[in-house]
Symmetry: C2
Subunit: 437 residues, 2 copies
Amino acid sequence: MASQVDSHPELTPGEQLAVKWYPPAYDIRVESVPIPTIQHRDDAIVKVKLAGLCGSDLHIYRGHGGFQDPLIFGHEFIGEVISLGESFTPNATDRPSLYPTLKVGDKVVSAFTSSCGECHFCRVGFTSRCVHCLLFGIPILPGGQAQYVRVPKAGGTLFAITGPLTTISEPSLVLLADILPTGIYAALQVLQHPKIAPVITGVAYPFSGWTPLARLEGVGQLEVGDRELVLAVVGLGPVGVCATIALLDMLASTNLSYKVIAIDPNESRRLKMQAIYEGMEEKYKANGQFKVEAIEEGKKVVEGWTNSLGCNAVLEIVGNNSALTLALSLVRPFGLISSVGVHQAPPLPFTGRECYNKNVSFDFGRCPVRSLLPVALDLMKRREDVFGAASGTGGGEAEVGGTRSLVDKIVPIGEAKKYYEMFDKGECGKVLFDPWV
Amino acid sequence: MASQVDSHPELTPGEQLAVKWYPPAYDIRVESVPIPTIQHRDDAIVKVKLAGLCGSDLHIYRGHGGFQDPLIFGHEFIGEVISLGESFTPNATDRPSLYPTLKVGDKVVSAFTSSCGECHFCRVGFTSRCVHCLLFGIPILPGGQAQYVRVPKAGGTLFAITGPLTTISEPSLVLLADILPTGIYAALQVLQHPKIAPVITGVAYPFSGWTPLARLEGVGQLEVGDRELVLAVVGLGPVGVCATIALLDMLASTNLSYKVIAIDPNESRRLKMQAIYEGMEEKYKANGQFKVEAIEEGKKVVEGWTNSLGCNAVLEIVGNNSALTLALSLVRPFGLISSVGVHQAPPLPFTGRECYNKNVSFDFGRCPVRSLLPVALDLMKRREDVFGAASGTGGGEAEVGGTRSLVDKIVPIGEAKKYYEMFDKGECGKVLFDPWV
Ligand SMILES: NC(=O)c1ccc[n+]([C@@H]2O[C@H](COP(=O)([O-])OP(=O)(O)OC[C@H]3O[C@@H](n4cnc5c(N)ncnc54)[C@H](O)[C@@H]3O)[C@@H](O)[C@H]2O)c1
Ligand SMILES: NC(=O)c1ccc[n+]([C@@H]2O[C@H](COP(=O)([O-])OP(=O)(O)OC[C@H]3O[C@@H](n4cnc5c(N)ncnc54)[C@H](O)[C@@H]3O)[C@@H](O)[C@H]2O)c1
Ligand SMILES: [Zn+2]
Ligand SMILES: [Zn+2]
Ligand SMILES: [Zn+2]
Ligand SMILES: [Zn+2]
């Protein structure tokens, strides 16, 4: 199919700029590499408009990803489809129905992992473990911190921005590739969990959730005092901020009373979260309390709020064992740890006895972005008070870099090395690369 | 209150027989010890009729419990209330309503941990982590493998067997103290979990469960092929058998199609499970398949059944790291491990990366028996095909020791040492001690 490729004036034709990481660690180079081409009938080539730098890149950047070979970074990108494989020709048969709808010229946001749309996991909604799932930005699938990127299983992976969605600003669209759906995922795992169900439904365990049991006599309705949710968010990087926004929005949509504490040792990260909260409309805050604290202060707040029982659930959004240990210390017996941090080679920092003794539940893993994208778009459209100021919904230019902005900076791709260093140290918030300036 | 204490003819008055464990390990002695007395206004003294030997005793027996002092074993017992603290006098005030209903002379089954019935955890239904929770059979709370036992927080802990429940045989009643509720707990954690919800509800994630999200357009109904549950039970000791019975009963009450594999390396344990399954009425088996296998064969069955995807969930009912490792290997991405095994000092045998890469969920911990007792009684009454043959419901004598019996033997307490040795080696099934012969 038609293919329209621009090379940078200073590059050889067929070459493009990309952010490359070299092992063992901390070695970022912006280099000229071949422009990718269609390799399979389900592929698309996307011309990248903006690409995000993410906390997940840091694990590999720091050498904890277990990779021996250089790779092109970037799993968060938006852009334009410039070329499509044969599956997308109008008369292609034997493809799932969504395939033929993608067209050259479509503006798209990509999920940060590819997913086919056809397998069991895709159908059930667990797209991030599609049997064809690949993460962008690993040796066998070069990432999107580049001018062009090849997208496998493009019909399942890409989401076309059409109709009313075209009014959303481009920086906001990048948040849809990963961090906003991931934040929603972390929050939803909490509110959908059976250990939270007694508080949500007002009915004591075991009749609190969906149940294959007959409802027996004498099932007690809970009193108001047992229907308060106390929750902690551990980690306020860009994903933690999104998780907190999603959590507070979901809580506002219920009539539960709640207390939420968000914890991060980094002051600038706390200030950003506080500013975003202060910008929220009052009606979204009416049923609960919210605090932002450093680690030790946060522990004390939880003790005070819960009479030392601990939180009903903790969202772990850091990706190291110190955060998991903090999470276990904060959670009450029969509590939940919703972990979306990307964890590496070390063993989990828990003994079996600790887990048994706390009756703790865990959810680990990667966000099924493609399934949650419609939910994330809905949140973004509804919550102008957060996303308008934060990254520009409602059309027009994004207000990037303000105290309430979810996107801190848009910088030329050539400055990638410097911004990896700053982001690694927590010296900046969410950074997007523009590969064309 | 009135107290009526019989000492064994061969013992000094005020003394009783009890099963004592001595550190470091494997040292069981049946000894004469003082008969316990009321120590607190909420206490009861129970004259023990039958007491169970349980897989949980084995952890301490083997020296893995971390105890330095001798203790009286036994957390599963039924008996008769012979003495009550002041809280149970008819005009006692400031006690929860259930307290005054317990009377001297009541026939009772005890939950294997004490629970107050008043605190947050008790009210919410998570009684096994009551703020006053104590396990029977530890140094500070002598257990029920004895002639008499002191029960703290008796109003919350004991369950009186009255009315229609009096037709249940005594061996069956002992199963209610721990193993049947624990089996139900393991099964219910699976069927109530949000990662199973798409299969149960037929709706894809994230709209599959209770949700604080608006139901957006385009939520796909799942096709029949994605609505089959494939589940594994790891461990077929007495608790694993109860879990399998509970799981199959719950599945029969839904209209789901399912495949369940139960795995144990011990052949006699597998034969017992197979015999119980074969004795079940056909109507309870109509929607699914069930198999019992040793470990390697079990793995192959799961591969074949699921085209190597793995199980939707695994019930881990063993209590060691080899079982947890097997469970993780059997479960599919976005699957659940419902662990009721009692785990000890070793760290969990998983790296953070393994957990992230499988998007696995875990539930750990102790069964809230007191909350599940009514459910267990309901199951026992309904499933005459299992419990009638297995331990005698329907009144009359229990048929103990048959191939389909959940109770293998009732033996004199004086033979405790021998039966600890046999049970430890998996050479017998569930054993109950009679402290009066
Ligand atoms: N599950 C998924 O699908 C998914 C998707 C995106 C990102 N992630 C992961 O989410 C995590 C966060 O991503 P990010 O972009 O916000 O990263 P980030 O590195 O910018 O943020 C991490 C934050 O955690 C804070 N922190 C460090 N140790 C802490 C502790 N012990 N307690 C509290 N806070 C602590 C840091 O100060 C920092 O602000 C990373 O592990 C990332 O890989 C997962
Ligand atoms: N969570 C709770 O509230 C609770 C309550 C009661 C018992 N328990 C625990 O449940 C577990 C089982 O109790 P039980 O009385 O049935 O004990 P048990 O020791 O009789 O049974 C354990 C079974 O597991 C089998 N087994 C051992 N390793 C295995 C492996 N790798 N794979 C599969 N099977 C394996 C053994 O052959 C045995 O049949 C114990 O850990 C016990 O402490 C927990
Ligand atoms: Zn990311
Ligand atoms: Zn797929
Ligand atoms: Zn037991
Ligand atoms: Zn209590």
